[in-house]
Subunit: 213 residues, 2 copies
């Protein structure tokens, strides 16, 4: 397979393909045409063909896609054939939600530690994890294999904590704080900005109202 740069919108759609293929597999569907997949996913069939062609030739004329094969290929492309260790900083509602989210573990994402700065939360157990003092974060990373750092703390401390991760060679950060992190280019960041998302919805809502009226 030729190495080429895949555009961000394509990458962003891959997890969605993966999700749909997983559902098909669960329902014992073994093969699917791009037309049928297109109807289910609400993407044009030609878009699907284009997207998947980025990664090699998966489909066969007149046969469609072999669901399991395609699922496994996308799995590999996304890097989900490996396991990842996550550490969460911020044991508030979002942090707790992530610990309690069973899907992650099934996908190979294991949460191995959760930290907080609040003495009233430190020591409390969430599932089987005891919340640790954020002062010990650097030490913990040095002693354990940590692949992904998760920031679910208030934005005021976000940069400081991201620097602890980065200086300890954690190069993937999942950022739920309402701020952008300034990280060196070798660090990957994926943001979940809830307020931004809500504002985007608000904009769409008003635009739709205008068209309706």
């Amino acid at each position: 397979m030729e190495e080429k740069k895949i555009s961000l919108p394509v990458i962003k759609r891959l997890p969605r393909y993966y999700r749909y293929l997983a559902e098909l597999l669960d329902n014992q569907v073994t093969r699917i045409s791009s037309k049928e997949l297109s109807q289910r996913m609400n993407i044009t069939a030609s878009q699907i063909r284009q997207d998947l062609n980025n990664f090699g030739c998966f489909g066969q004329q007149g046969y469609g896609y072999n669901v399991e094969f395609l699922y496994n290929e996308i799995r590999k492309i996304l890097g989900l054939d490996e396991a990842y260790n996550l550490v969460i900083v911020g044991a508030g509602n979002i942090g707790q939600a992530l610990v309690n989210y069973a899907t992650f573990e099934r996908r190979g994402f294991k949460i191995i530690g959760i930290f907080d700065a609040n003495p009233r939360i430190i020591g409390v157990s969430i599932k089987e994890l005891e919340v640790m003092d954020v002062q010990l974060l650097g030490e913990f990373i040095q002693k354990n294999k940590v692949d992904i750092g998760v920031l679910t703390l208030p934005k005021g401390k976000a940069i400081e904590v991201s620097e602890i991760f980065i200086s300890n060679k954690v190069t993937a950060l999942w950022n739920f704080t309402n701020t952008d992190l300034n990280a060196p280019p070798h660090v990957c960041i994926e943001n979940v900005h809830l307020t931004d998302s809500l504002m985007t919805l608000c904009y769409k809502f008003n635009e739709t109202k205008k068209t309706q009226s």
Copy 2:
């Protein structure tokens, strides 16, 4: 101002501009050049000029942008000069996190009801809101002004609940369930798919590792 269709990437960046301008205002900064804004936001100055030109002429040659004016304009464009009532279905960690998120209320988003199907959670208070039985959702919407429906429930019931919102004329849905909703075109949906986001991070992480090695 001429009405034209704004592209989705521009719309997605608007809340980010809004966030930065709010910070500038908090720090008593009254004007800013596109160059300076560009350095802070890590977007090129020409991108900023292009983005903002979509909505009219905000900048002045040699002066830059008036922060408060620009803030207020983007506020209006996003529709944040109005208030919105939200109803949440699913009082798990994510639902609770949203109720506890003070920022929303400051931005004009008011959560007026939270529902769940679990009898052990119904009746419990989160902040000042008592969790109601999801059976009463339709009735509640009919009696109250509900602008945005928030889905923070398990994906199995997501479609059913979205249909209650839609049939009761709620046309904006904020979807946290790990599934896509099939809604008619007059309904706006904004998805927060956490697993997709984590998989995207995972992909970027592996790509970066390849370039480094």
